[in-house]
Amino acid sequence: MSSTVLPLLPSSEAHTILVVDDEVLVRLVIAEYLRACGYTVHEAANADEAIAVVDSSDVVIDLVLADVQMPSGSLDGFGLARWVRKHHPEVKVILTSGAARSAEIAGDLCEHGPLLAKPYEPSAALDRIKQLLATVGRPLRALPGACSVLGSIQLQA
Protein backbone atom coordinates (compact mmCIF):
# COMPACT_ATOMS: atom_id res chain seq x y z
CA MET A 1 0.00 0.00 0.00
CA SER A 2 1.14 3.50 -0.66
CA SER A 3 0.52 6.72 1.19
CA THR A 4 -0.57 9.05 -1.55
CA VAL A 5 -1.93 12.54 -1.07
CA LEU A 6 -5.10 12.89 -3.09
CA PRO A 7 -7.27 15.95 -3.64
CA LEU A 8 -10.65 16.16 -2.00
CA LEU A 9 -13.50 14.76 -4.00
CA PRO A 10 -16.17 17.10 -5.27
CA SER A 11 -19.17 17.21 -3.00
CA SER A 12 -22.39 15.66 -4.16
CA GLU A 13 -25.97 16.22 -3.16
CA ALA A 14 -26.71 12.54 -3.51
CA HIS A 15 -26.73 10.40 -0.42
CA THR A 16 -23.59 8.33 -0.16
CA ILE A 17 -23.71 4.60 0.51
CA LEU A 18 -20.81 2.33 1.40
CA VAL A 19 -21.31 -1.25 0.19
CA VAL A 20 -19.20 -3.71 2.19
CA ASP A 21 -18.95 -7.27 0.91
CA ASP A 22 -16.01 -9.61 0.38
CA GLU A 23 -17.71 -11.33 -2.55
CA VAL A 24 -16.63 -8.96 -5.31
CA LEU A 25 -19.37 -9.86 -7.78
CA VAL A 26 -22.14 -9.49 -5.21
CA ARG A 27 -20.63 -6.14 -4.17
CA LEU A 28 -20.38 -5.09 -7.79
CA VAL A 29 -24.00 -5.92 -8.59
CA ILE A 30 -25.54 -4.08 -5.66
CA ALA A 31 -23.12 -1.13 -6.03
CA GLU A 32 -23.92 -0.68 -9.74
CA TYR A 33 -27.64 -1.02 -8.99
CA LEU A 34 -27.52 1.69 -6.34
CA ARG A 35 -25.45 3.96 -8.61
CA ALA A 36 -28.09 3.51 -11.30
CA CYS A 37 -30.62 4.59 -8.67
CA GLY A 38 -28.78 7.88 -8.28
CA TYR A 39 -26.76 7.28 -5.14
CA THR A 40 -23.06 7.94 -4.77
CA VAL A 41 -21.67 4.52 -3.89
CA HIS A 42 -18.28 3.53 -2.54
CA GLU A 43 -17.10 -0.04 -2.08
CA ALA A 44 -15.16 -1.82 0.64
CA ALA A 45 -13.97 -5.41 0.46
CA ASN A 46 -13.94 -5.97 4.22
CA ALA A 47 -14.57 -4.25 7.55
CA ASP A 48 -11.06 -2.79 7.73
CA GLU A 49 -11.53 -1.01 4.40
CA ALA A 50 -14.98 0.12 5.51
CA ILE A 51 -13.61 1.66 8.70
CA ALA A 52 -10.93 3.51 6.70
CA VAL A 53 -13.59 4.98 4.41
CA VAL A 54 -16.07 5.92 7.16
CA ASP A 55 -13.23 7.51 9.16
CA SER A 56 -11.88 9.40 6.13
CA SER A 57 -12.33 13.15 6.11
CA ASP A 58 -12.59 13.02 2.32
CA VAL A 59 -16.08 11.56 2.26
CA VAL A 60 -19.28 11.60 4.29
CA ILE A 61 -21.03 8.25 4.36
CA ASP A 62 -24.77 8.30 5.07
CA LEU A 63 -25.41 4.57 5.11
CA VAL A 64 -23.38 1.36 5.33
CA LEU A 65 -24.79 -1.73 3.62
CA ALA A 66 -22.63 -4.58 4.91
CA ASP A 67 -22.51 -8.34 4.69
CA VAL A 68 -22.39 -10.11 8.04
CA GLN A 69 -19.95 -12.85 7.01
CA MET A 70 -16.61 -11.31 6.05
CA PRO A 71 -13.77 -13.64 7.12
CA SER A 72 -11.05 -11.68 5.31
CA GLY A 73 -11.09 -8.70 7.70
CA SER A 74 -10.52 -8.20 11.40
CA LEU A 75 -14.25 -7.71 12.04
CA ASP A 76 -17.38 -9.28 10.64
CA GLY A 77 -20.47 -7.27 9.75
CA PHE A 78 -21.74 -7.29 13.32
CA GLY A 79 -18.38 -5.98 14.54
CA LEU A 80 -18.42 -3.31 11.85
CA ALA A 81 -21.95 -2.27 12.83
CA ARG A 82 -20.88 -1.98 16.47
CA TRP A 83 -17.86 0.13 15.43
CA VAL A 84 -20.05 2.44 13.34
CA ARG A 85 -22.59 2.75 16.15
CA LYS A 86 -19.81 3.70 18.59
CA HIS A 87 -17.71 6.03 16.44
CA HIS A 88 -20.17 7.40 13.88
CA PRO A 89 -23.66 7.02 15.36
CA GLU A 90 -25.10 9.30 12.68
CA VAL A 91 -24.36 6.70 9.99
CA LYS A 92 -27.16 4.24 9.23
CA VAL A 93 -26.38 0.54 8.93
CA ILE A 94 -28.08 -2.27 7.05
CA LEU A 95 -26.69 -5.78 7.46
CA THR A 96 -27.17 -8.58 4.97
CA SER A 97 -26.58 -12.24 5.53
CA GLY A 98 -26.82 -15.51 3.69
CA ALA A 99 -26.95 -17.48 6.89
CA ALA A 100 -29.62 -17.81 9.50
CA ARG A 101 -28.63 -15.33 12.20
CA SER A 102 -30.25 -13.95 15.26
CA ALA A 103 -32.71 -11.23 14.36
CA GLU A 104 -32.30 -9.93 17.89
CA ILE A 105 -28.60 -9.16 17.32
CA ALA A 106 -29.36 -7.39 14.07
CA GLY A 107 -32.24 -5.58 15.70
CA ASP A 108 -29.86 -4.14 18.27
CA LEU A 109 -27.41 -2.99 15.62
CA CYS A 110 -29.65 -1.81 12.79
CA GLU A 111 -32.35 0.77 12.62
CA HIS A 112 -35.80 -0.33 11.58
CA GLY A 113 -35.75 -4.03 12.19
CA PRO A 114 -33.85 -7.10 11.18
CA LEU A 115 -31.34 -7.61 8.45
CA LEU A 116 -31.99 -8.37 4.82
CA ALA A 117 -31.43 -12.03 4.11
CA LYS A 118 -29.28 -13.02 1.15
CA PRO A 119 -30.08 -13.56 -1.62
CA TYR A 120 -32.02 -10.35 -1.37
CA GLU A 121 -33.75 -8.52 -4.17
CA PRO A 122 -31.91 -5.29 -4.99
CA SER A 123 -35.23 -3.48 -5.03
CA ALA A 124 -35.82 -4.66 -1.44
CA ALA A 125 -32.45 -3.24 -0.45
CA LEU A 126 -33.39 0.02 -2.19
CA ASP A 127 -36.67 0.22 -0.27
CA ARG A 128 -34.83 -0.25 3.02
CA ILE A 129 -32.22 2.34 2.07
CA LYS A 130 -34.85 4.90 1.08
CA GLN A 131 -36.66 4.28 4.36
CA LEU A 132 -33.51 4.87 6.40
CA LEU A 133 -32.18 7.83 4.45
CA ALA A 134 -35.52 9.60 4.71
CA THR A 135 -34.41 10.37 8.26
CA VAL A 136 -31.11 11.94 7.16
CA GLY A 137 -31.23 15.71 7.14
CA ARG A 138 -29.10 16.33 4.06
CA PRO A 139 -30.78 17.21 0.75
CA LEU A 140 -31.49 14.26 -1.48
CA ARG A 141 -31.00 14.39 -5.20
CA ALA A 142 -34.11 13.31 -7.08
CA LEU A 143 -34.03 9.60 -7.75
CA PRO A 144 -35.42 7.95 -10.83
CA GLY A 145 -38.43 5.77 -10.21
CA ALA A 146 -36.72 2.73 -11.64
CA CYS A 147 -33.21 1.45 -11.95
CA SER A 148 -31.54 -1.70 -13.14
CA VAL A 149 -28.87 -4.09 -12.06
CA LEU A 150 -25.91 -4.21 -14.43
CA GLY A 151 -27.58 -1.58 -16.55
CA SER A 152 -24.34 -0.27 -17.97
CA ILE A 153 -22.07 -3.30 -17.84
CA GLN A 154 -21.99 -6.46 -19.89
CA LEU A 155 -21.33 -10.00 -18.81
CA GLN A 156 -18.24 -11.64 -20.26
CA ALA A 157 -19.19 -13.76 -23.28
Partner: protein, 156 residues
Protein backbone atom coordinates in the same frame (compact mmCIF):
# COMPACT_ATOMS: atom_id res chain seq x y z
CA UNK B 1 -6.35 -15.32 4.28
CA UNK B 2 -8.53 -17.16 1.80
CA UNK B 3 -11.17 -15.30 -0.14
CA UNK B 4 -14.54 -17.06 -0.14
CA UNK B 5 -15.55 -18.47 -3.51
CA UNK B 6 -17.63 -16.15 -5.61
CA UNK B 7 -21.27 -17.01 -5.32
CA UNK B 8 -22.27 -16.74 -8.96
CA UNK B 9 -25.66 -18.28 -8.24
CA UNK B 10 -26.41 -15.45 -5.84
CA UNK B 11 -25.37 -12.87 -8.40
CA UNK B 12 -27.59 -14.52 -10.99
CA UNK B 13 -30.53 -14.54 -8.57
CA UNK B 14 -29.99 -10.88 -7.72
CA UNK B 15 -29.94 -10.10 -11.42
CA UNK B 16 -33.02 -12.17 -12.13
CA UNK B 17 -34.86 -10.49 -9.27
CA UNK B 18 -35.04 -7.26 -11.26
CA UNK B 19 -38.11 -7.46 -13.44
CA UNK B 20 -38.50 -5.72 -16.76
CA UNK B 21 -40.63 -3.16 -14.99
CA UNK B 22 -37.53 -2.02 -13.16
CA UNK B 23 -35.57 -1.41 -16.32
CA UNK B 24 -35.05 2.22 -17.27
CA UNK B 25 -36.33 3.40 -20.62
CA UNK B 26 -33.92 2.94 -23.50
CA UNK B 27 -31.77 5.99 -23.99
CA UNK B 28 -31.18 7.63 -27.33
CA UNK B 29 -27.45 7.63 -26.73
CA UNK B 30 -26.46 4.11 -27.72
CA UNK B 31 -22.72 4.83 -27.89
CA UNK B 32 -20.71 2.25 -25.98
CA UNK B 33 -19.43 3.37 -22.60
CA UNK B 34 -16.09 1.95 -21.61
CA UNK B 35 -16.01 -0.32 -18.58
CA UNK B 36 -12.89 0.05 -16.45
CA UNK B 37 -11.69 -2.17 -13.62
CA UNK B 38 -9.61 -0.41 -10.96
CA UNK B 39 -7.40 -2.90 -9.11
CA UNK B 40 -6.05 -1.20 -5.99
CA UNK B 41 -5.67 -2.47 -2.43
CA UNK B 42 -5.60 0.96 -0.78
CA UNK B 43 -9.31 1.65 -0.38
CA UNK B 44 -8.95 5.43 -0.09
CA UNK B 45 -6.95 5.65 -3.30
CA UNK B 46 -9.31 3.18 -5.00
CA UNK B 47 -12.44 5.11 -4.14
CA UNK B 48 -10.86 8.44 -5.09
CA UNK B 49 -9.58 7.40 -8.52
CA UNK B 50 -12.74 5.37 -9.19
CA UNK B 51 -14.89 8.40 -8.38
CA UNK B 52 -12.81 10.57 -10.69
CA UNK B 53 -13.18 8.08 -13.54
CA UNK B 54 -16.93 7.75 -12.94
CA UNK B 55 -17.16 11.52 -13.00
CA UNK B 56 -15.61 11.40 -16.47
CA UNK B 57 -18.41 9.09 -17.63
CA UNK B 58 -16.82 5.68 -17.44
CA UNK B 59 -18.42 2.65 -15.86
CA UNK B 60 -15.94 1.78 -13.13
CA UNK B 61 -15.72 -1.53 -11.29
CA UNK B 62 -13.48 -2.03 -8.28
CA UNK B 63 -11.26 -4.91 -7.17
CA UNK B 64 -9.35 -4.88 -3.88
CA UNK B 65 -7.04 -7.79 -4.71
CA UNK B 66 -5.69 -9.88 -7.58
CA UNK B 67 -8.22 -12.62 -6.77
CA UNK B 68 -11.09 -10.14 -6.99
CA UNK B 69 -9.73 -8.79 -10.27
CA UNK B 70 -9.63 -12.26 -11.82
CA UNK B 71 -13.17 -12.99 -10.61
CA UNK B 72 -14.45 -9.83 -12.28
CA UNK B 73 -12.48 -10.45 -15.50
CA UNK B 74 -13.96 -13.94 -15.76
CA UNK B 75 -17.49 -12.60 -15.46
CA UNK B 76 -17.75 -9.04 -16.73
CA UNK B 77 -16.72 -7.58 -20.09
CA UNK B 78 -14.00 -5.09 -19.17
CA UNK B 79 -12.35 -2.70 -21.64
CA UNK B 80 -9.42 -1.49 -19.55
CA UNK B 81 -7.64 -2.48 -16.35
CA UNK B 82 -6.09 0.20 -14.14
CA UNK B 83 -3.75 -1.83 -11.95
CA UNK B 84 -1.65 -1.03 -8.93
CA UNK B 85 1.51 -3.15 -9.23
CA UNK B 86 1.85 -3.76 -5.50
CA UNK B 87 -1.17 -5.59 -4.13
CA UNK B 88 -0.97 -6.93 -0.60
CA UNK B 89 -4.19 -8.91 -0.75
CA UNK B 90 -4.82 -12.43 -1.92
CA UNK B 91 -3.78 -13.93 -5.19
CA UNK B 92 -0.60 -12.14 -6.22
CA UNK B 93 0.54 -8.74 -7.41
CA UNK B 94 -0.60 -6.51 -10.23
CA UNK B 95 1.61 -8.19 -12.79
CA UNK B 96 -0.11 -11.51 -12.06
CA UNK B 97 -3.43 -9.85 -12.94
CA UNK B 98 -1.89 -8.49 -16.14
CA UNK B 99 -0.58 -11.92 -17.13
CA UNK B 100 -4.00 -13.43 -16.48
CA UNK B 101 -5.65 -10.77 -18.61
CA UNK B 102 -3.15 -11.23 -21.43
CA UNK B 103 -3.77 -14.98 -21.46
CA UNK B 104 -7.54 -15.07 -21.01
CA UNK B 105 -8.76 -11.62 -22.13
CA UNK B 106 -6.07 -10.44 -24.59
CA UNK B 107 -8.22 -7.58 -25.90
CA UNK B 108 -8.34 -5.82 -22.52
CA UNK B 109 -6.17 -2.68 -22.38
CA UNK B 110 -3.82 -2.24 -19.42
CA UNK B 111 -2.58 0.78 -17.50
CA UNK B 112 -0.25 0.38 -14.50
CA UNK B 113 0.45 2.53 -11.50
CA UNK B 114 2.69 2.26 -8.46
CA UNK B 115 4.69 4.27 -5.98
CA UNK B 116 7.76 2.30 -6.95
CA UNK B 117 8.89 -0.24 -9.50
CA UNK B 118 11.22 -3.10 -8.66
CA UNK B 119 14.44 -3.38 -10.59
CA UNK B 120 13.90 -5.50 -13.67
CA UNK B 121 10.13 -5.07 -13.84
CA UNK B 122 10.17 -2.22 -16.35
CA UNK B 123 10.45 -4.29 -19.55
CA UNK B 124 7.48 -6.53 -18.68
CA UNK B 125 5.38 -3.54 -17.62
CA UNK B 126 6.24 -1.67 -20.79
CA UNK B 127 5.21 -4.67 -22.87
CA UNK B 128 1.75 -4.67 -21.26
CA UNK B 129 0.91 -0.97 -21.31
CA UNK B 130 1.63 2.53 -20.01
CA UNK B 131 2.85 3.17 -16.48
CA UNK B 132 1.67 6.08 -14.34
CA UNK B 133 3.79 6.76 -11.24
CA UNK B 134 2.16 7.63 -7.89
CA UNK B 135 1.23 10.13 -6.73
CA UNK B 136 -0.75 10.94 -9.85
CA UNK B 137 -3.07 13.74 -10.86
CA UNK B 138 -6.56 12.59 -11.79
CA UNK B 139 -6.31 14.69 -14.95
CA UNK B 140 -3.27 12.63 -15.94
CA UNK B 141 -5.12 9.37 -15.19
CA UNK B 142 -8.01 10.43 -17.40
CA UNK B 143 -5.62 11.42 -20.17
CA UNK B 144 -3.72 8.12 -20.09
CA UNK B 145 -6.91 6.05 -19.89
CA UNK B 146 -8.44 7.90 -22.83
CA UNK B 147 -5.28 7.55 -24.91
CA UNK B 148 -4.96 3.85 -24.08
CA UNK B 149 -8.57 3.13 -25.03
CA UNK B 150 -7.64 4.76 -28.33
CA UNK B 151 -11.11 5.72 -29.43
CA UNK B 152 -12.48 2.17 -29.42
CA UNK B 153 -14.96 3.11 -26.76
CA UNK B 154 -15.77 6.45 -25.25
CA UNK B 155 -16.48 7.66 -21.77
CA UNK B 156 -20.03 8.65 -22.72
Amino acid sequence: MPVPPVNLAMVARMNAAVSNDDMPPATEDAAPRATLLVVEDDVLIRFAVSSALRGAGYTVLEAASADEARAVLQTIAVDLLFIDLHLHGDGGDGLSVARFARTHRPWVKLVFTSGKVRLGQEPEIAAFGPFLPKPYLFSRVLQVVENTLGGDVSAK
